[in-house]
Protein backbone atom coordinates (compact mmCIF):
# COMPACT_ATOMS: atom_id res chain seq x y z
CA UNK A 1 0.00 0.00 0.00
CA UNK A 2 1.18 3.51 -0.82
CA UNK A 3 2.36 5.56 2.12
CA UNK A 4 -0.66 7.69 3.16
CA UNK A 5 1.71 10.31 4.53
CA UNK A 6 3.54 10.77 1.27
CA UNK A 7 0.95 13.29 0.08
CA UNK A 8 2.14 15.71 2.77
CA UNK A 9 5.78 15.57 1.73
CA UNK A 10 7.13 18.94 0.69
CA UNK A 11 9.28 19.10 -2.42
CA UNK A 12 11.07 21.91 -4.12
CA UNK A 13 9.54 23.01 -7.38
CA UNK A 14 11.72 26.01 -8.21
CA UNK A 15 15.05 26.50 -6.54
CA UNK A 16 15.58 30.03 -5.26
CA UNK A 17 18.54 31.35 -3.31
CA UNK A 18 18.35 31.63 0.44
CA UNK A 19 17.66 35.06 1.88
CA UNK A 20 18.93 36.43 5.17
CA UNK A 21 15.87 37.99 6.73
CA UNK A 22 16.43 40.15 9.79
CA UNK A 23 15.20 38.44 12.92
CA UNK A 24 14.49 35.16 11.16
CA UNK A 25 17.96 34.27 9.99
CA UNK A 26 18.65 32.48 6.75
CA UNK A 27 15.45 31.47 5.01
CA UNK A 28 15.27 29.21 1.99
CA UNK A 29 12.74 30.97 -0.22
CA UNK A 30 12.57 28.19 -2.79
CA UNK A 31 9.15 27.61 -4.28
CA UNK A 32 7.88 24.34 -2.84
CA UNK A 33 4.71 22.46 -3.71
CA UNK A 34 3.20 24.00 -0.56
CA UNK A 35 4.01 27.52 -1.80
CA UNK A 36 2.62 26.66 -5.23
CA UNK A 37 -0.57 25.46 -3.59
CA UNK A 38 -0.93 28.65 -1.55
CA UNK A 39 -0.20 30.79 -4.59
CA UNK A 40 -2.75 28.91 -6.66
CA UNK A 41 -5.34 29.37 -3.93
CA UNK A 42 -4.68 33.11 -3.81
CA UNK A 43 -4.69 33.29 -7.61
CA UNK A 44 -7.94 31.36 -7.73
CA UNK A 45 -9.57 33.83 -5.35
CA UNK A 46 -8.36 36.77 -7.46
CA UNK A 47 -9.56 35.19 -10.70
CA UNK A 48 -12.87 34.30 -9.09
CA UNK A 49 -13.50 37.83 -7.87
CA UNK A 50 -12.22 39.39 -11.07
CA UNK A 51 -15.00 37.46 -12.80
CA UNK A 52 -17.57 37.57 -10.00
CA UNK A 53 -17.23 41.18 -8.85
CA UNK A 54 -19.40 42.48 -11.64
CA UNK A 55 -21.69 45.32 -10.84
CA UNK A 56 -24.85 44.06 -12.47
CA UNK A 57 -27.99 44.85 -10.52
CA UNK A 58 -29.39 41.47 -11.54
CA UNK A 59 -26.51 39.09 -10.77
CA UNK A 60 -25.41 36.12 -12.86
CA UNK A 61 -24.49 32.77 -11.31
CA UNK A 62 -20.85 33.59 -10.54
CA UNK A 63 -21.74 37.03 -9.20
CA UNK A 64 -24.40 35.45 -6.98
CA UNK A 65 -21.85 33.06 -5.48
CA UNK A 66 -19.41 35.91 -4.88
CA UNK A 67 -22.08 37.99 -3.21
CA UNK A 68 -23.23 34.99 -1.18
CA UNK A 69 -19.71 34.49 0.20
CA UNK A 70 -19.45 38.21 0.87
CA UNK A 71 -22.78 38.29 2.71
CA UNK A 72 -21.91 35.14 4.65
CA UNK A 73 -18.76 36.65 6.13
CA UNK A 74 -20.31 40.11 6.39
CA UNK A 75 -23.24 38.75 8.41
CA UNK A 76 -20.84 36.66 10.50
CA UNK A 77 -18.63 39.64 11.37
CA UNK A 78 -21.65 41.89 11.85
CA UNK A 79 -23.52 39.49 14.13
CA UNK A 80 -20.52 38.61 16.30
CA UNK A 81 -18.52 41.86 16.45
CA UNK A 82 -21.40 44.27 15.94
CA UNK A 83 -21.28 47.50 13.97
CA UNK A 84 -17.48 47.58 14.24
CA UNK A 85 -17.36 44.31 12.32
CA UNK A 86 -17.03 46.37 9.11
CA UNK A 87 -13.49 47.33 10.10
CA UNK A 88 -12.36 43.72 10.45
CA UNK A 89 -14.45 42.33 7.64
CA UNK A 90 -11.65 42.40 4.99
CA UNK A 91 -9.27 40.57 7.34
CA UNK A 92 -11.85 37.92 8.25
CA UNK A 93 -12.87 37.55 4.62
CA UNK A 94 -9.27 37.13 3.48
CA UNK A 95 -8.74 34.42 6.10
CA UNK A 96 -11.98 32.69 5.19
CA UNK A 97 -11.54 32.77 1.43
CA UNK A 98 -7.85 31.84 1.58
CA UNK A 99 -8.43 28.84 3.84
CA UNK A 100 -11.49 27.82 1.82
CA UNK A 101 -9.53 28.01 -1.44
CA UNK A 102 -6.62 26.01 -0.02
CA UNK A 103 -8.98 23.38 1.40
CA UNK A 104 -10.87 23.05 -1.87
CA UNK A 105 -7.71 22.95 -3.96
CA UNK A 106 -6.61 20.08 -1.73
CA UNK A 107 -9.74 18.21 -2.78
CA UNK A 108 -8.80 18.49 -6.45
CA UNK A 109 -5.00 18.50 -6.45
CA UNK A 110 -2.44 16.27 -4.79
CA UNK A 111 -1.33 18.79 -2.19
CA UNK A 112 -3.27 20.51 0.58
CA UNK A 113 -1.53 23.56 2.00
CA UNK A 114 -3.81 23.64 5.05
CA UNK A 115 -2.66 20.17 6.03
CA UNK A 116 0.75 21.70 6.78
CA UNK A 117 1.10 22.67 10.43
CA UNK A 118 3.46 25.46 9.35
CA UNK A 119 0.60 27.03 7.38
CA UNK A 120 -2.17 26.63 9.94
CA UNK A 121 0.11 27.74 12.80
CA UNK A 122 1.12 30.85 10.86
CA UNK A 123 -2.50 31.71 10.15
CA UNK A 124 -3.45 31.11 13.79
CA UNK A 125 -0.57 33.22 15.08
CA UNK A 126 -1.39 35.95 12.58
CA UNK A 127 -4.98 35.96 13.85
CA UNK A 128 -4.00 36.03 17.53
CA UNK A 129 -1.36 38.71 16.92
CA UNK A 130 -3.99 40.80 15.16
CA UNK A 131 -6.29 40.29 18.14
CA UNK A 132 -3.53 41.31 20.57
CA UNK A 133 -2.52 44.37 18.52
CA UNK A 134 -6.13 45.49 18.09
CA UNK A 135 -6.76 44.86 21.79
CA UNK A 136 -3.84 46.96 22.96
CA UNK A 137 -4.42 49.76 20.47
CA UNK A 138 -8.05 50.05 21.53
CA UNK A 139 -7.91 49.37 25.24
CA UNK A 140 -4.29 50.08 26.15
CA UNK A 141 -3.55 48.66 29.55
CA UNK A 142 -7.27 47.95 29.95
CA UNK A 143 -6.57 44.72 28.08
CA UNK A 144 -6.11 43.07 31.49
CA UNK A 145 -9.92 43.01 31.78
CA UNK A 146 -9.85 40.21 29.25
CA UNK A 147 -8.41 37.99 31.97
CA UNK A 148 -10.55 39.33 34.81
CA UNK A 149 -14.18 38.35 34.33
CA UNK A 150 -16.54 40.95 35.75
CA UNK A 151 -19.12 40.05 38.37
CA UNK A 152 -17.02 37.31 39.95
CA UNK A 153 -16.40 37.30 43.74
CA UNK A 154 -12.77 38.29 44.31
CA UNK A 155 -11.59 35.06 45.95
CA UNK A 156 -12.60 33.21 42.80
CA UNK A 157 -10.34 35.49 40.75
CA UNK A 158 -7.30 33.53 41.99
CA UNK A 159 -8.78 30.59 40.14
CA UNK A 160 -10.37 32.42 37.21
CA UNK A 161 -7.51 34.63 36.11
CA UNK A 162 -5.04 31.78 35.50
CA UNK A 163 -7.77 29.86 33.66
CA UNK A 164 -8.55 32.87 31.47
CA UNK A 165 -4.86 33.43 30.73
CA UNK A 166 -4.34 29.79 29.81
CA UNK A 167 -7.47 29.76 27.65
CA UNK A 168 -6.19 32.84 25.82
CA UNK A 169 -2.77 31.32 25.28
CA UNK A 170 -4.29 28.07 24.04
CA UNK A 171 -6.37 29.86 21.41
CA UNK A 172 -3.67 29.99 18.69
CA UNK A 173 -2.82 26.35 19.38
CA UNK A 174 -6.42 25.18 19.04
CA UNK A 175 -6.95 27.37 15.97
CA UNK A 176 -3.90 25.85 14.30
CA UNK A 177 -4.49 22.27 15.38
CA UNK A 178 -8.22 22.20 14.56
CA UNK A 179 -7.68 23.09 10.92
CA UNK A 180 -4.51 21.03 10.63
CA UNK A 181 -6.07 17.98 12.28
CA UNK A 182 -9.24 18.10 10.20
CA UNK A 183 -7.34 18.42 6.94
CA UNK A 184 -4.66 15.82 7.61
CA UNK A 185 -7.17 13.39 9.10
CA UNK A 186 -9.55 13.60 6.18
CA UNK A 187 -6.85 13.23 3.56
CA UNK A 188 -5.14 10.33 5.37
CA UNK A 189 -8.43 8.43 5.72
CA UNK A 190 -9.23 9.06 2.05
CA UNK A 191 -5.80 7.80 1.05
CA UNK A 192 -6.05 4.70 3.25
CA UNK A 193 -9.48 3.73 1.94
CA UNK A 194 -8.36 4.40 -1.62
CA UNK A 195 -5.35 2.15 -0.92
CA UNK A 196 -7.70 -0.58 0.33
CA UNK A 197 -9.51 -0.60 -3.02
CA UNK A 198 -6.30 -1.54 -4.82
CA UNK A 199 -4.77 -3.84 -2.23
CA UNK A 200 -7.98 -5.79 -1.58
CA UNK A 201 -8.56 -6.04 -5.31
CA UNK A 202 -5.07 -7.42 -5.82
CA UNK A 203 -5.61 -9.85 -2.97
CA UNK A 204 -8.91 -11.00 -4.47
CA UNK A 205 -7.33 -11.62 -7.84
CA UNK A 206 -5.60 -14.56 -6.19
CA UNK A 207 -8.90 -16.46 -6.40
CA UNK A 208 -10.48 -18.88 -3.91
CA UNK A 209 -11.78 -17.57 -0.60
CA UNK A 210 -9.75 -14.39 -1.21
CA UNK A 211 -12.32 -13.43 -3.87
CA UNK A 212 -14.29 -11.93 -0.97
CA UNK A 213 -11.72 -9.17 -1.22
CA UNK A 214 -13.69 -7.78 -4.17
CA UNK A 215 -16.53 -7.08 -1.74
CA UNK A 216 -14.15 -5.26 0.60
CA UNK A 217 -12.77 -3.35 -2.36
CA UNK A 218 -16.28 -2.27 -3.32
CA UNK A 219 -17.08 -1.18 0.22
CA UNK A 220 -13.85 0.84 0.26
CA UNK A 221 -14.80 2.51 -3.02
CA UNK A 222 -18.18 3.46 -1.57
CA UNK A 223 -16.46 4.80 1.53
CA UNK A 224 -14.11 6.92 -0.57
CA UNK A 225 -17.05 8.44 -2.44
CA UNK A 226 -18.92 9.17 0.79
CA UNK A 227 -15.79 10.49 2.52
CA UNK A 228 -15.04 12.76 -0.42
CA UNK A 229 -18.46 14.33 -0.03
CA UNK A 230 -17.85 14.66 3.71
CA UNK A 231 -14.45 16.22 3.10
CA UNK A 232 -16.00 18.90 0.91
CA UNK A 233 -18.29 19.79 3.81
CA UNK A 234 -15.35 19.74 6.21
CA UNK A 235 -13.31 21.92 3.85
CA UNK A 236 -16.03 24.58 3.90
CA UNK A 237 -16.88 24.15 7.57
CA UNK A 238 -13.31 24.49 8.80
CA UNK A 239 -12.80 27.69 6.84
CA UNK A 240 -16.06 28.99 8.29
CA UNK A 241 -15.12 27.91 11.83
CA UNK A 242 -11.74 29.62 11.52
CA UNK A 243 -13.44 32.83 10.38
CA UNK A 244 -16.11 32.59 13.09
CA UNK A 245 -13.53 32.05 15.85
CA UNK A 246 -11.48 34.95 14.52
CA UNK A 247 -14.59 37.09 14.85
CA UNK A 248 -15.22 35.81 18.39
CA UNK A 249 -11.65 36.56 19.47
CA UNK A 250 -11.75 40.01 17.85
CA UNK A 251 -15.08 40.69 19.55
CA UNK A 252 -13.52 39.90 22.94
CA UNK A 253 -11.05 42.74 22.59
CA UNK A 254 -13.16 45.17 20.54
CA UNK A 255 -16.13 45.09 22.91
CA UNK A 256 -14.05 44.54 26.01
CA UNK A 257 -16.23 46.68 28.26
CA UNK A 258 -19.26 44.49 27.71
CA UNK A 259 -17.17 41.39 28.21
Amino acid sequence: MADPMHQFQINKVVDLPTVNLPGLGVVDLSITNSVVSMGMAAGLICVFFALAARQAVVPGRLQSVGEMLYSLVDDLAGSIIGHEGKVFFPFVFTLFSFILAMNFLGMFLVFTATSQLAVTATLALLTILTVVVVGFSRNGIGMYKLFVPSGVPWPLLFLMVPIEIISFLVRPVTLALRLFGNMIGGHVVLKIFAGFIISLGLLASGGGIASLGYLGSLVSLGSVVALTALEFIVAFLQAFVFAALTCVYLNDVVNLDSH
Binding site: V27, V35, A53, Y70, T94
Partner: protein, 182 residues
Protein backbone atom coordinates in the same frame (compact mmCIF):
# COMPACT_ATOMS: atom_id res chain seq x y z
CA UNK B 1 25.73 23.89 -5.12
CA UNK B 2 27.22 22.34 -2.01
CA UNK B 3 24.39 23.82 -0.02
CA UNK B 4 21.87 22.23 -2.32
CA UNK B 5 23.52 18.83 -1.99
CA UNK B 6 23.33 19.03 1.79
CA UNK B 7 19.69 19.97 1.60
CA UNK B 8 18.94 17.09 -0.72
CA UNK B 9 20.66 14.82 1.76
CA UNK B 10 18.66 16.33 4.55
CA UNK B 11 15.35 15.86 2.81
CA UNK B 12 16.28 12.32 1.84
CA UNK B 13 17.02 11.63 5.47
CA UNK B 14 13.76 13.20 6.46
CA UNK B 15 11.99 11.11 3.85
CA UNK B 16 13.38 8.01 5.41
CA UNK B 17 12.24 9.28 8.76
CA UNK B 18 8.73 9.96 7.44
CA UNK B 19 8.30 6.45 6.12
CA UNK B 20 9.25 5.35 9.59
CA UNK B 21 5.99 6.84 10.88
CA UNK B 22 6.84 10.52 11.41
CA UNK B 23 4.80 13.24 9.81
CA UNK B 24 6.31 15.19 6.91
CA UNK B 25 4.74 18.27 8.54
CA UNK B 26 7.35 18.09 11.29
CA UNK B 27 10.33 18.42 8.95
CA UNK B 28 11.10 21.85 10.27
CA UNK B 29 13.52 22.61 7.46
CA UNK B 30 10.51 23.51 5.31
CA UNK B 31 8.86 25.79 7.87
CA UNK B 32 10.59 29.17 7.38
CA UNK B 33 10.03 29.21 3.62
CA UNK B 34 6.35 28.30 4.01
CA UNK B 35 5.81 30.89 6.75
CA UNK B 36 7.45 33.71 4.78
CA UNK B 37 5.67 32.84 1.55
CA UNK B 38 2.35 32.44 3.34
CA UNK B 39 2.66 35.86 4.95
CA UNK B 40 3.63 37.42 1.62
CA UNK B 41 0.73 35.83 -0.24
CA UNK B 42 -1.66 36.64 2.60
CA UNK B 43 -0.69 40.32 2.59
CA UNK B 44 -1.00 40.56 -1.19
CA UNK B 45 -4.37 38.81 -1.07
CA UNK B 46 -5.53 41.03 1.80
CA UNK B 47 -4.59 44.19 -0.09
CA UNK B 48 -6.23 42.99 -3.30
CA UNK B 49 -9.41 41.90 -1.57
CA UNK B 50 -9.79 44.87 0.77
CA UNK B 51 -8.88 47.55 -1.78
CA UNK B 52 -10.21 46.15 -5.01
CA UNK B 53 -12.63 43.24 -4.90
CA UNK B 54 -14.58 43.54 -1.65
CA UNK B 55 -15.54 47.22 -2.13
CA UNK B 56 -16.83 46.34 -5.57
CA UNK B 57 -18.94 43.43 -4.32
CA UNK B 58 -20.13 45.40 -1.29
CA UNK B 59 -20.89 48.41 -3.47
CA UNK B 60 -22.95 46.30 -5.84
CA UNK B 61 -24.92 44.79 -2.96
CA UNK B 62 -25.47 48.26 -1.50
CA UNK B 63 -26.48 49.69 -4.88
CA UNK B 64 -28.97 46.89 -5.35
CA UNK B 65 -30.44 47.35 -1.89
CA UNK B 66 -30.71 51.11 -2.50
CA UNK B 67 -32.28 50.58 -5.89
CA UNK B 68 -34.84 48.11 -4.55
CA UNK B 69 -35.68 50.46 -1.69
CA UNK B 70 -35.98 53.40 -4.10
CA UNK B 71 -38.13 51.38 -6.50
CA UNK B 72 -40.43 50.23 -3.71
CA UNK B 73 -40.73 53.79 -2.43
CA UNK B 74 -41.43 55.03 -5.95
CA UNK B 75 -44.03 52.33 -6.49
CA UNK B 76 -45.69 53.28 -3.21
CA UNK B 77 -45.67 56.96 -4.22
CA UNK B 78 -47.16 56.11 -7.59
CA UNK B 79 -49.86 54.02 -5.92
CA UNK B 80 -50.79 56.85 -3.58
CA UNK B 81 -50.76 59.28 -6.49
CA UNK B 82 -52.90 56.95 -8.60
CA UNK B 83 -55.37 56.54 -5.74
CA UNK B 84 -55.55 60.28 -5.29
CA UNK B 85 -56.06 60.78 -9.01
CA UNK B 86 -58.71 58.10 -9.08
CA UNK B 87 -60.55 59.84 -6.22
CA UNK B 88 -60.26 63.17 -8.04
CA UNK B 89 -61.56 61.62 -11.23
CA UNK B 90 -64.52 60.09 -9.40
CA UNK B 91 -65.30 63.41 -7.78
CA UNK B 92 -65.07 65.16 -11.13
CA UNK B 93 -67.28 62.57 -12.72
CA UNK B 94 -69.90 63.07 -10.02
CA UNK B 95 -69.63 66.83 -10.41
CA UNK B 96 -69.96 66.56 -14.16
CA UNK B 97 -73.01 64.34 -13.81
CA UNK B 98 -74.73 66.80 -11.45
CA UNK B 99 -73.77 69.63 -13.75
CA UNK B 100 -75.13 67.81 -16.76
CA UNK B 101 -78.37 67.02 -14.97
CA UNK B 102 -78.73 70.62 -13.90
CA UNK B 103 -77.97 71.87 -17.39
CA UNK B 104 -80.50 69.47 -18.86
CA UNK B 105 -83.24 70.48 -16.46
CA UNK B 106 -82.44 74.15 -16.98
CA UNK B 107 -82.56 73.70 -20.75
CA UNK B 108 -85.85 71.91 -20.48
CA UNK B 109 -87.33 74.66 -18.28
CA UNK B 110 -86.03 77.33 -20.62
CA UNK B 111 -87.45 75.56 -23.64
CA UNK B 112 -90.77 75.17 -21.88
CA UNK B 113 -90.79 78.82 -20.94
CA UNK B 114 -89.90 79.90 -24.46
CA UNK B 115 -92.59 77.69 -25.92
CA UNK B 116 -95.15 79.14 -23.54
CA UNK B 117 -94.06 82.69 -24.37
CA UNK B 118 -94.21 82.04 -28.09
CA UNK B 119 -97.59 80.41 -27.77
CA UNK B 120 -98.90 83.34 -25.77
CA UNK B 121 -97.54 85.78 -28.39
CA UNK B 122 -99.12 83.80 -31.18
CA UNK B 123 -102.38 83.67 -29.34
CA UNK B 124 -102.26 87.42 -28.75
CA UNK B 125 -101.62 88.02 -32.46
CA UNK B 126 -104.46 85.69 -33.37
CA UNK B 127 -106.81 87.33 -30.87
CA UNK B 128 -105.93 90.74 -32.30
CA UNK B 129 -106.56 89.54 -35.83
CA UNK B 130 -109.82 88.02 -34.69
CA UNK B 131 -110.89 91.25 -33.05
CA UNK B 132 -109.99 93.24 -36.20
CA UNK B 133 -111.91 90.79 -38.36
CA UNK B 134 -114.91 90.95 -36.08
CA UNK B 135 -114.81 94.74 -36.21
CA UNK B 136 -114.69 94.70 -40.00
CA UNK B 137 -117.59 92.27 -40.10
CA UNK B 138 -119.58 94.48 -37.79
CA UNK B 139 -118.83 97.57 -39.87
CA UNK B 140 -119.75 95.71 -43.06
CA UNK B 141 -122.95 94.49 -41.49
CA UNK B 142 -123.82 97.95 -40.22
CA UNK B 143 -123.05 99.37 -43.61
CA UNK B 144 -125.16 96.67 -45.19
CA UNK B 145 -127.98 97.35 -42.79
CA UNK B 146 -127.73 101.08 -43.60
CA UNK B 147 -127.94 100.32 -47.29
CA UNK B 148 -131.15 98.33 -46.68
CA UNK B 149 -133.03 101.60 -45.82
CA UNK B 150 -131.70 103.29 -48.93
CA UNK B 151 -132.70 100.32 -51.02
CA UNK B 152 -136.08 100.21 -49.32
CA UNK B 153 -136.65 103.91 -49.95
CA UNK B 154 -135.52 103.53 -53.57
CA UNK B 155 -137.79 100.54 -53.99
CA UNK B 156 -140.62 102.33 -52.22
CA UNK B 157 -140.18 105.40 -54.45
CA UNK B 158 -139.99 103.19 -57.51
CA UNK B 159 -143.10 101.22 -56.53
CA UNK B 160 -144.99 104.38 -55.67
CA UNK B 161 -144.01 105.84 -59.02
CA UNK B 162 -145.14 102.74 -60.81
CA UNK B 163 -148.39 102.43 -58.92
CA UNK B 164 -149.40 106.01 -58.76
CA UNK B 165 -147.40 107.53 -61.45
CA UNK B 166 -146.44 110.24 -59.05
CA UNK B 167 -143.04 110.26 -57.70
CA UNK B 168 -143.03 110.39 -53.93
CA UNK B 169 -140.72 112.83 -52.34
CA UNK B 170 -137.87 111.72 -50.28
CA UNK B 171 -139.47 113.02 -47.11
CA UNK B 172 -142.64 111.06 -47.71
CA UNK B 173 -140.78 107.87 -48.32
CA UNK B 174 -138.66 108.49 -45.28
CA UNK B 175 -141.70 109.09 -43.10
CA UNK B 176 -143.39 106.02 -44.48
CA UNK B 177 -140.32 103.89 -43.94
CA UNK B 178 -139.89 105.05 -40.39
CA UNK B 179 -143.57 104.34 -39.79
CA UNK B 180 -143.22 100.89 -41.36
CA UNK B 181 -140.13 100.08 -39.36
CA UNK B 182 -141.79 101.07 -36.16
Amino acid sequence: MANETTQTHESTGADGHASGGGLPQFQFVWWPGQVVWLLLIFVVLYVLLSKLFLPRVGGTIQTRADKIAADVAQARDLKTQAEAESATALAELAKARTHAQRTASEAKAKANAEAATRQAAEEAVLAEKLAVAEDRIRVSRDAALGNVRTIASDIAAAITDKLTGVAATADEVETALTAAKA
